[in-house]
Amino acid sequence: MFILKLIFKNAFRHKLRTWLTIVGITIAILAYGLLRTVISTWYAGVESSSATRLVTRNAISLVFSLPLSYEESIRHVPGVKFVTRDNWFGGIYIDEKHFFPSFAIDPKNYLPLVPEFVIPGDQQAAFIRDRNAALAGRKIAEKYHWKIGDTITLKGTIFPGNWEFVLRAIYHGRDKSTDETFFLFHWDYLNEALKKTASRRADQVGFYFIGVTSPNLAAEVSQAIDKMFKNSLSETLTETEKAFQLGFISMSEAIIVAIRMVSFVVIIIIMAVMANTMAMTARERFGEYAVFKALGFGGVHLAGLIFGESLVIAILGGAAGIALTFPVARAFGRAMDNYFPVFNVAKTTIYMDMAAALLIGLVAGIVPAWRAVHIRVADGLRRIG
């Protein structure tokens, strides 16, 4: 208790210097936490993907479609429970600034595949029943003040024209990581329209979303599907939903690596600042350390005092940084909800924040502690005189 008191008192001998250092650590930990959250948000889709879901797409590229006729063949592969046709619609609401992901789906087969989308029973039935019905996530419904029964017009980019939908259902996420910005509508509605306006593009599917009976069957089913369409006009590539999502992320890997490096650089910079603070502190107190040694205190005691002081400053800064991460992340998420539909601070981010704060404290104490332990008592006392 006595030693702990001494450590705290020592830490705040130079109040301005200590508080500035704490503020520096707070900002660094906050920045580190936000950057780590940006990275984990990037992987949010991967995290929320299910092990029982597969995606079958054209083996050449996602931009090439697959024939509608594949659906029945896939449905009969042993282990397949659900198959739904899926097309990226890429619609624009109002203007380009108002972006949210929009897909054409087969509701009857799609909804059982996504139990993380929680929809009231009557709304789900209405969505399935009406061909021009739409299902929207809670976040975009709230953002645009949509109500059930509203007519929503999207401007097609891949499929030109103005597309009108009636909002029949709003889903909310079962988990924090569920994206609540999806806009889903009937694939048949899209296909019927294409038959009239661009018949060449009708009966084409962007990708198939498949549910398997057991995660253990994922590899087997994937191989069976791809084998079935080998040497056809449209060969397929079937992969788990996770691998499919990671494929998207790999396109922006350079950005993620850059963000990750910046997050580490922030910590290294504050580590240097903190080390400088501790070096100054220790230099000013070499005389005192000599007195401690003269009184019989050993190197372990002195190292304990210095590391203790360093850790107190780092932990206070780290705790403040962690506490601020939540409100700042919420504000950041709100401001950037077009780009980051899910922006939650993960537990692992907090653990990494804590580890970073402890590391800052420990590293900053190494050199001063080493010097204090090795100072000769007579030399240290001469500094005072």
Partner: protein, 229 residues
């Protein structure tokens, strides 16, 4: 009976390639219960000799026995332990820890003992009463006068009841009245508690309190006849 036996002690400092001898082949004893004053001009090696006797510096040659222990043969850890048990330090500039109260400063050496909190409190209160500062125990060094700070330092020096007290210019930073009080206190500790005191001083008045005065010049003792009172 001698408490300190010094044999052929030598010490030199190195300034770059230059070797500056400080103590040359000193041999002398300090009797148990003696109050010894070491005098001499600046740079004569008084403080170096004091540091060697107190075990906070190492000689280049010779031996120092305190009690039955040759402290020149101890490791750093053993020496630290030995100092904690056997030596009380009184410095010119008091060297109190500014963020600790008088009570806490005095209690500091007791952290190395196995005493309980209540036992430590009891010891500190006795030590502070000896130096007449019971009413100042919650004061920080900055709130005390120089003389009071030195009295706190003396309480810290005697708290573990060491046999040997070493004092380096204990009155060097004090006014005449405060210096007199400190010297009286040291004299009392020597007379009533039987502490062996080795004091470095420039002040003839301070040296006048000692039983024995040794003069050190150019690293050699007794250039002038040893003075006994």
């Amino acid at each position: 009976m001698s408490i300190v036996e010094i044999q052929n002690l030598s010490k030199a400092y190195h300034r770059g390639s230059q070797v500056v001898p400080v103590l040359n082949d000193l041999t002398f004893d300090i009797k148990e219960g003696e109050f010894l004053a070491l005098m001499g001009p600046s740079g004569s090696g008084k403080s170096t000799l004091l540091n060697l006797i107190a075990g906070i510096d190492r000689p280049d040659g010779g031996t120092i026995k305190v009690g039955a222990i040759d402290i020149t043969a101890l490791t750093e850890t053993q020496l630290a332990r030995w100092r904690a048990d056997n030596v009380g330090f009184i410095f010119q500039f008091y060297n109190l820890i500014p963020v600790l109260t008088a009570f806490e400063n005095v209690a500091l050496p007791l952290l190395l003992t196995g005493l309980s909190k209540s036992e430590r409190r009891e010891h500190v209160e006795i030590a502070l009463s000896i130096v007449g500062l019971n009413d100042r125990m919650d004061h920080y060094p900055g709130q005390l006068s120089g003389g009071q700070q030195q009295r706190v330092a003396i309480a810290r020096a005697v708290i573990t009841d060491p046999a040997l007290l070493v004092a380096d210019e204990p009155t060097g930073d004090l006014d005449r009245v405060s210096a007199g009080e400190i010297l009286d206190l040291m004299e009392r500790l020597n007379a009533e508690s039987g502490k062996t005191i080795v004091m470095v001083t420039h002040d003839p008045r301070a040296a006048g309190k000692a039983h024995v005065i040794k003069h050190l010049e150019k690293g050699v003792l007794n250039v002038y006849p040893e003075t006994h009172f």
